[in-house]
Amino acid sequence: MQRMLFCIGHRWPSKTICAGFLVFFSYLLCGAVNAEQPLSKEQKLKAAYLWNFTQYIAWPDSKVGKLPASIRICVDGSNNFFQFLQDMVISKRDFKGKNTVEVLSLDEARGCEILYVRQSKKIASISLDHTVVVADSPSVAMPNAAMVFYQKNGKLRFEVDVTIISDLEVVVSSELLKLARIKQ
């Protein structure tokens, strides 16, 4: 950066070299920033939905928007997805009057309120009482998935299985259900 400022502030023997350096530097900088965010927009939207789910679902020991209950999102996803969701949650720390949220990887979690799964697998390591299982896509075969992401007309949508939700004894707000495809 100092080199670049030097370039601008002083007479340079060749302006072309200076210009080339500026372009190259900005390109590299841009590449570096992008390298930290390789997630697709679809994955980012899924992360944002997961965070929103925590604010529109009431678990047995909490009420939507009333108690600052700690909600654990367990993530069975890539490191980048995990990091993105965690950064998102950290950025919402000052969000008062709503549930506080923490993001955990499957390896470190003992229990969770939301479990996001990207592959069909048996989850034996953690307790799934009252856990809302969210499947990454309809191709993920999770019989106890209460919510499933799917695509429609280039947009991300989600399905809610109200039977499973009822069995879990959690309450999904009508605002969230209004946007969902309901599976009876």
């Binding site: 500026l22 927009k41 980012k44 998102m88 695509q151 280039g154 947009k155 991300l156 209004k178 495809r181």
Partner: protein, 348 residues
């Protein structure tokens, strides 16, 4: 150096255009719901916002109705001296009217909510006649040319995952001719042709449509539409307003082929004002039914069947055939036999 600064700006803009976790965290549920999954700046798989459509439409009128009563050509043709002239018989009778339109339309998706459309038709019309005028016992009149240009905008509002409400409003510009002429029995040489043979309305018209499309378990849409016409054209008339109510149910035969069946109700008003050049100097000044502005409009109920085929990723083909099952016309008026439409569209 200027070039370098421009490049610097472009690269920096690209960096800043990337969305951060905090930006996504600030989105409301509804905003997330409206988001496309495609990265606008970088994802080459994102469909283009431009759509080009070619449509061929055809409609044929044959036979006559007065209200719901069917009339023969003999009923409508005035045959002197045995038959007296009335407001319901004429010395000239169109027997078959064929109208064809080639429409080119360009659509642009501004965002997930707003779409814009512009369409321009090329029209060809042909009418067979019989008459009691010597040397004009049978004759055919034809006109062709550019019709009225339509510009419209559509707003999509997805209230839930089960359906989409759409409001479409536009303006139809009078680019079609209302001065088409031809050789009729009215006088030697070419004269002004009746309203049906003109290519445009001559007025600024405002099409508006409101519909609901279900995207849930059942694929159907229902809508109401109107074409509101304003003022009068240079020939002192304006065509009647049209109002319609339509419903259509689609069944998917495969992931790329859908069939549809629908019902439409259409109500049209008669022509307001009159083109004096179409009249003759007689107690009943209308040489043919189609020169009388009061003998336009009425009510129709039509059955429609369609086929929608996604030929390739960016190509759609649409076929539709419609047949009126009920017509109550301000007659005597030529009755609609059937209409067809074929269109092919592609994202550019």
């Amino acid at each position: 150096m200027k070039c370098a600064k421009v490049c610097l700006f472009i690269f920096t803009s690209q960096c800043l255009a990337q969305s951060t976790p905090s930006e996504f965290a600030e989105m409301s549920l509804q905003e997330l719901f409206d988001q496309s999954i495609y990265d606008v700046e970088n994802d080459q798989t994102r469909p283009s916002p431009w759509t080009l459509t070619y449509q061929f439409k055809s409609v044929e009128f044959e036979g006559y109705l007065d209200g719901t009563k069917s009339l023969s050509f003999d009923d409508v043709l005035w045959s002197p001296p045995g038959e007296g002239r009335t407001a319901k018989n004429f010395p000239v009778v169109p027997t078959t009217i064929r109208q064809k339109a080639h429409v080119v339309a360009l659509g642009y998706e501004f965002n997930s909510r707003w779409h814009g459309h512009i369409s321009l038709p090329y029209i060809h019309q042909e009418t067979d006649h019989i008459s009691i005028v010597s040397s004009y016992e049978t004759f055919v009149l034809e006109t062709s040319g550019v019709g009225d240009t339509s510009v419209s905008a559509t707003y999509n509002w997805a209230a839930s995952d089960e359906g989409i409400w759409r409001l479409s409003m536009g303006i139809s510009l009078p680019t079609g001719s209302i001065d088409e002429g031809g050789d009729t029995p009215r006088a030697p040489g070419d004269q002004q042709l009746p309203y049906t043979m003109q290519l445009g309305s001559g007025t600024y018209d405002f099409p508006v449509e409101f519909n609901y499309t279900s995207t849930g378990a059942h694929d159907f849409n229902v809508g109401v539409s109107a074409n509101i016409r304003t003022g009068t054209n240079d020939r002192d008339y304006r065509l009647g307003n049209n109002y319609s109510l339509k419903g259509r149910y689609k069944i998917a035969l495969s992931p790329t082929v859908q069939t549809s069946a629908g019902l439409s109700f259409q109500y049209s008003r008669p022509i307001h004002g009159k083109d004096e050049s179409l009249l003759v100097n007689a107690p009943i000044p209308y040489p043919a039914g189609i020169t009388n502005p009061d003998l336009y409009g009425g009510k129709k109920v039509s059955l429609r069947f369609g086929l929608l085929w996604q030929l390739a990723k960016n190509y759609h083909l649409n076929l539709e055939v419609g047949k009126p099952i009920y017509q109550n016309l301000n007659g005597p008026q030529p009755k609609e036999e059937w209409r067809t439409a074929f269109s092919i569209s592609r994202s550019m």
